[in-house]
Symmetry: C2
Subunit: 177 residues, 2 copies
């Protein structure tokens, strides 16, 4: 029998009721979409699958994906929206119109008090190459791979101050031991 999940206090065996559920996206609010989109497209190579505007409520949503090589995305907008909501691991950026022009406006990163949300995480093929790429783009580091207690784990900040963990999967076999 294949691996069915670790057993810990509280864990229950899933039933048919949750069949087909899929963790589609994580939503973060951003102050200035132009800056956020430049950051996530250039530094992390994400594509904008779909922008949705809500004029009456004065906000826009941007759905971003890191597409796999050769992954086929529908051209037609309605089909593309449906495709977008069928994927795993997307990032949704919410822009409430006007915040980009408010000098003192900033969103809360969840790591300062009051705490809650912590970070998103990208895995990368080569951690040192990724660090050099972040440096080349002036990305702010919270910690580098050789700093602190958790070696091989990098944290950077996006342009709104949200933390992004960056790891190389094949160097983490002994994590937590």
């Amino acid at each position: 029998m294949s691996f069915q999940g670790e057993q810990h206090p509280g864990v229950q065996t899933p039933t048919a009721d949750s069949e087909g559920f899929r963790l589609n996206h994580t939503m973060l609010r951003v102050k200035d979409p132009e800056k956020a989109l430049a950051f996530y497209s250039r530094v992390f190579g994400m594509r904008v699958l779909r922008r949705l505007d809500f004029e009456e409520m004065r906000f826009s949503l941007y759905f971003l994906a890191k597409l796999e090589e050769g992954e086929a995305v529908p051209d037609e907008e309605g089909e593309r929206t449906v495709w977008t909501f069928s994927q795993k691991g997307l990032l949704e950026l919410t822009h409430n119109w006007g915040t980009e022009n408010q000098a003192d406006f900033a969103y809360h990163d969840g790591n300062a008090e009051p705490q809650g949300f912590g970070h998103i995480c990208f895995s990368v093929p080569d951690l040192e190459a990724a660090e050099a790429w972040f440096d080349a783009n002036g990305v702010e580091f919270v910690k580098r791979a050789d700093q602190g207690k958790m070696k091989n784990v990098v944290f950077v900040k996006d342009v709104d101050g949200y933390w992004i963990e960056v790891v190389q999967a094949d160097r983490l076999a002994a994590l937590g031991d």
Copy 2:
């Protein structure tokens, strides 16, 4: 040529530097892992891929995935950790030891002030069946599919108060029009 992403102010074309980057997980802090694991395993059908304990720093991490039918996960722990960090769309729950015994302790959901993080989102095959399933499990609703301006979009709360959006992809073709 296949779809390469929408063009909006700020968007840049990814370079080879971000090749192989993958959005692996989103981390949320939870007060009581037993309650959070019961919720995400029972209601959303997630499995615990890996628990990592950090005794010196007094916290544990739980990596959860909604596995696809027949998806093969390595049994051996080191291999499974590497596999975990190679996936897309996982949920990481962080438990700082002892918070479960502090009566007044609660994490910040990011939707009350100060705002930042908004929600995670699951897509489901049948939105009404999902609503009935949430009701059968006493899940708290922020809004049902037929409430508010955004029809066909459900929001519920997890046991820490974080918002979870729930959608049925094939009913969203006209969203934002």
